[in-house]
Amino acid sequence: MVGIIESISSFASTEPAAFAFIISIIGVAIIAGVVNVGAMLVIWAERKVLGDFAARYGPNRVGGRWGVLQLGADAIKLFTKEDTIPYSADKAVYVWAPIVASMATMLVAAAIPFGALHINGRNYPLVVANMDISALYVEAALSIMAIGVFMAGYSSNNKYSMLGAFRGIARMIAYEVPMGVCVISVAIMAHSLNLVEIAEGQTLWYIFAQPLGFLIFFIALITDLGRIPFDQSEAEEEIISGYNTEYSGIRWGLLYFQEYNNMLLGSILLTVLFLGGWQGPIIPIPVLDIVSPLIWLLLKVIIVMWSLVWVRSALLRLRIDQVTDLGWKWMLPLSIVNLLWAVAIGSYFA
């Protein structure tokens, strides 16, 4: 055992670039597993919570009275279902669309800190690629998702899918801008574009320092995730299932999973940017003190996701013209107001 560690450390000291590369590969593999398993849990939890809001039970058959194995059953079903490709579809684009969409998610996951470990009074952030501009990078990678959606909608050669893709793009353009402005406002206050530094540098959580920014970012996040009241791109009662109407089996599963991956990652991003990340009092119990930042992050993320489900069960869907109207006429000007506010008081936070 000691020999292995010694040889690794000697490899790390002699070949730092190669070592960093290998670590990244391992990290991405771990993160991909964590995100996907996390998304499964998110799907299960959403169904349970949504059921609770509507005075129902949610899944309660497969895997005991909590229905914990429901997702395993669903996943097996999706994997074994027939994979149909429409005769008149643009096959290459059709096949690649779910892959591009989930790839975008993984790109986001690579730069998002999943918490930290508290060892010897110091926080070691759990992030694969700790970049100086990770906030900007995450913003850019989030927009790639829209390309996946558009590819799926365009290549299906289906009227509903096409309308769904158009709506998705229109919505994305209208809301990525205010979302980006909000991220910049946070970066101005934090004097950094590094997500780890933003999370650790919040002496006052930015939800209190710029509540308007938090509100705009939260709404833009819901839009980005395509959830009610902003799920026009897959509005079931209008355009069947929107951009993924023609998909089936595991290809559909990928698109579906990608939505919940994004929900998880988006919630973490919101927590990191506005809710103080993994900040919180260290629990003074031997093993728990190491993971206590993780526990705080998880708690905050659960609250964010719970409110996302709450919004879904309480609100109606907006019309696409009302969505773009809200985005361009209200969200963008207000986000710029927030930016000015951040610039004005940002110096006090240095």
Partner: protein, 570 residues
């Protein structure tokens, strides 16, 4: 107040010779046979001078023994008076043809199309006699004629033959064939008209327009009906409707069942409002028989019909909201939970959740169970607080107002002209309720208001339904206070064969005005049952309403009508 006698004498003096024969049944019912050449003039006179502005429909009859066809035009007024006029026009059975009323009444269109495809009565001057309920290939068989013996086999062209059975009825069956058929050898003589697909494609003007299906297989539809929208981007240019996907031929089936058996079929027309359908059919038969319903039975009927209205409005509103909010919307689930309470209350009386078959000629099937009154009162109290909560919730929801306000506006004049009834009509501000206009049972003695809206948009339609539920609760509470002891069925013996006669009976269904025109020739089965369904009338207004709206609003407008294609298709 105008009476039937005054209407008749007014027509006779203005258009001498137009009325060939007449019968004044009561102050509110006028039956008249009109000279076929003068029917349009008479209707025009009645519409313009006697304010018969509510065209209720056309019923076609096949009098095979007299070798003639009869068309009955049913007309009433939106509140000016209470007279319902049934104008009959006779035409020979060979090439039957009457003048169309589409020039006078916009909504005559669908009724005449139905009479044409089912009975083969041609309407001169109709803008487009295309099949509505039947598929194109079955037109030309005229299924509701009395000598109809089943559709021909579409591959062999063979007709059905009579097969005698031991129970005394006659069955028709297509005999099994061993003949080999060559393609194209079957004679197909059908009327020539463009198919729906061709009519749609004629409207396509540019490459940026496309036709999108929103039914029969679509997440929006409450039951199967075809709705094709011609869209440019997100905007609907034109909408096309077609019915017949669940056409059950109930009117024809009822002609082949005994009078009593017919009640079970009225349940199946719209199972959400089956009690008012029962009431409508039984009321019409009672009218032919001249039966008096005992007072207790009247109370039980009113209580159950109002309960049925509450549960129908709950599911109608709830389903509509899911169309806008998705199935994850929590208030919809609460509405279903509340509706379940009402349904179990009705079930405790009738023994069935949806298809009750509870109303009988001259009474009801059974009495209220013990302790019903207390249970009902407590449920109603709970319902009242729930409905008030819904009203408050919708009032405060900004997105609700964004999606509902000023969407799908119908003006009062348009609503009257298009024959809309029920909550969509009352949402425009026209206080037209059959319970007030043409009261039945004990509605005249009860104290209730007619809920009306102001703008006639989707929000008002929901609002009217919610307020109507509160009024229904008020009505039931009054009934529970006053219900007397006594028999629940009439003492009179109901004959197996109903004496010859005819009656038109109207009730206020949860969806609007439901009328049944029942004809007896003295046999043990109805000679003709014509149903004037409320949603059939409202349905017809959808295509003009959908022009120029966004796709998302198509869902809102169609949903806010509380559709029941099952009842429209009968």
């Amino acid at each position: 107040m105008t009476t039937a006698n005054e209407v008749l004498s007014s027509i006779q003096s203005a258009l001498p010779g137009a009325v060939l024969d007449s019968r004044v049944e009561s102050e509110r019912r006028l039956w008249a046979t009109i000279d076929p050449r003068k029917i349009v003039d008479v209707c025009k006179y009645m519409r313009d001078k006697l304010s018969f502005d509510h065209y209720s429909g056309t019923a076609g009859l096949d009098w095979i023994a007299k070798n003639e066809m009869e068309v009955v035009e049913i007309m009433a007024s939106h509140g000016a008076h209470q007279v319902v006029a049934m104008l009959k026009v006779r035409t020979p059975r060979e090439n039957p043809s009457v003048k169309s009323l589409t020039g006078l009444f916009w909504n005559a269109n669908w009724y005449e199309r139905e009479a044409w495809e089912m009975l083969g009565i041609k309407f001169e001057g109709h803008p487009g006699l295309y099949p509505l309920l039947l598929p194109d290939e079955l037109v030309g068989s005229w299924p509701w004629r009395k000598d109809f013996k089943g559709y021909p086999d579409l591959t062999t062209g063979q007709r059905a033959v009579e097969i005698p059975t031991s129970d005394g009825y006659t069955r028709y069956m297509i005999p099994p064939t061993t003949m080999e058929i060559e393609a194209g050898t079957v004679p197909t003589e059908r009327p020539k008209y463009p198919s729906l697909r061709e009519r749609e494609e004629m409207e396509l003007k540019s490459d940026s327009e496309m036709i999108m299906h929103m039914g029969p297989q679509h997440a929006m539809v409450p039951g199967p009906f075809l709705l094709d929208v011609l869209v440019e981007g997100e905007t609907v240019k034109k909408a096309f409707l077609d019915l017949g996907y669940i056409h059950k031929g109930i009117e024809k089936i009822m002609e082949n069942r005994t009078w009593l058996q017919g009640i079970t079929y009225t349940d199946r027309m719209c199972y959400v409002a089956s009690l008012s359908n029962n009431e409508c059919y039984c009321g019409a038969v009672e009218k032919i028989l001249g039966l008096e319903v005992p007072e207790r039975a009247q109370y039980i009927r009113v209580i159950l019909e109002e309960l049925s209205r509450i549960q129908s409005h709950l599911i109608g509103t709830g389903e509509f909201l899911t169309l806008i909010a998705g199935v994850g919307y929590a208030p919809w689930q609460y509405m279903i939970i509340d509706r379940e309470r009402i349904i179990s209350l009705i079930e405790s009386v009738t023994g069935a959740r949806l298809t009750h078959t509870f109303v009988r000629f001259g009474g009801v099937r059974n009495d209220l169970p013990e302790g019903f009154s207390e249970k009902c009162r407590s449920t109603l109290k709970y319902m009242e607080s729930e409905i008030n909560e819904f009203i408050e919730l919708f009032e405060q929801d900004p997105i609700y107002h964004l999606r509902m306000d000023n969407v799908g506006i119908i003006t009062p004049d348009d609503a009257k002209r298009m024959g809309v009834s029920g909550p969509p009509l009352r949402a425009t501000g026209v206080a037209y309720d059959i319970r007030k206009e043409d009261p039945i049972l004990l509605y005249p003695d009860l104290d209730f208001k007619v809920a009306v809206g102001t703008r006639g948009d989707c929000a008002d339609r929901i609002d009217v339904r919610l307020k109507e539920m509160l009024e229904s609760i008020h009505i039931i509470e009054q009934c529970l206070d006053r219900i007397p002891a006594g028999p629940i069925k009439t003492e009179a013996k109901i004959p197996k064969k109903i004496p010859a006669g005819e009656a038109y009976y109207r009730v206020e269904d949860p969806r609007g005005e439901m009328g049944m025109y029942v004809v007896s020739d003295g046999g043990d089965k109805p000679y003709r049952v014509k149903v004037r369904g409320p949603f059939y009338a409202t349905f017809q207004t959808l295509p003009p309403l959908l022009e120029g709206v966004f796709i998302a609003d198509v869902v809102a407008i169609a949903g806010s009508m509380d559709g029941c294609p099952s009842e429209a298709d009968r």
